[in-house]
């Protein structure tokens, strides 16, 4: 029995040591206030979630200009998008196209 336990422990230790550590996906926020998107936090990676937080009393959208995502961010609420690809993505609000922003996503 002790041999089995030792083998499992060794295998776990070996596995743990051999697999490179990848940071857990995180959630970052972009504030919407006074009909404008706030700054985009740096360091967003593939798999991370961007959450838009709408402080306005108007509905807005976050809409990728290249078709990557299109979510409604209702007045006083939040909406999330998981970033699936690396790159620099311009986005805007479909309801008020003068509101624009940019999300940079790096590889994992």
């Amino acid at each position: 029995m002790w041999m089995l336990a030792a083998i499992v422990a060794l295998a776990q230790a070996f596995g743990y040591a051999s697999v490179p550590r990848t940071p857990a996906p995180k959630v970052v926020q972009i504030e919407i206030d006074k009909v404008a998107f706030g700054d985009t936090p740096a360091g967003i990676a593939v798999g991370d979630t961007v959450e838009w937080v709408n402080h306005d009393i108007f509905d807005h959208t976050s809409t990728s200009k290249t078709g990557g995502w299109d979510v409604v961010v209702p007045a006083g609420k939040k909406a999330r998008v998981v970033m699936k690809r690396a790159g620099a993505f311009d986005y805007f609000c479909r309801l008020h196209p003068n509101m624009t922003g940019l999300v940079r996503v790096k590889k994992k």
């Binding site: 404008a36 479909r94 309801l95 196209p97």
Partner: protein, 174 residues
């Protein structure tokens, strides 16, 4: 008469404002509040007409957003007037706007289908362009109260967005 040059056309808002106010007779805050509220109300009514007549999903989505946004801005305006103890004061510019809008609604009521969609969207582009011009050149610079000025500035940002949204939708129904 402060706004004697106002006639039925909405476009006259900017022209008369610039012409009259250039002589130093700028509108008062209660008059500005009334003009801004009236301009918003007109667009809500135009959108409600569009929602009754249009079957185009993009036009309807635009109209629905006009109802929502202008209702919110007007609510903010009324709340601010209440807070400041200001009573919006009717004036010739507001009357001219209302009269022009009534004529436009009657004109649009005779249309249906794609003809209506085109005419409604074209008017929304022109209307927002004119109102935004008046806000930028006359109403915002003339407002004395800082909170009223700030509200008008927020309104202008929203309405500039509407103008772009209207231009985009107008291009789709051509």
């Amino acid at each position: 008469m402060l706004f004697r040059h106002v006639s039925t056309a909405i476009a006259v808002l900017a022209v008369s404002s610039i012409g009259v106010f250039a002589q130093g007779a700028k509108p008062t805050d209660p008059q500005i509040a009334h003009i801004a509220y009236t301009a918003g109300q007109i667009d809500i009514e135009a959108a409600q007409q569009a929602l009754k007549i249009s079957k185009n999903k993009d036009v309807r989505a635009f109209a629905e957003n006009m109802v929502k946004d202008h209702t919110q801005v007007n609510k903010m305006a009324l709340d601010l007037c209440k807070k400041l103890g200001v009573t919006p004061e009717d004036n010739d510019t507001s009357k001219g706007l209302a009269k022009g809008a009534e004529a436009k609604r009657a004109e649009l009521a005779k249309l249906a289908g794609a003809e209506f969609d085109k005419a409604y969207m074209a008017n929304e582009v022109a209307y927002h362009k004119t109102v935004n011009g008046a806000l930028e050149t006359v109403l915002i610079p003339s407002s004395s109260n800082a909170e009223l000025k700030s509200l008008l500035q927020t309104g202008l940002k929203i309405f500039k967005g509407h103008q772009q949204h209207a231009e985009h939708t107008a291009a789709m129904v051509k």
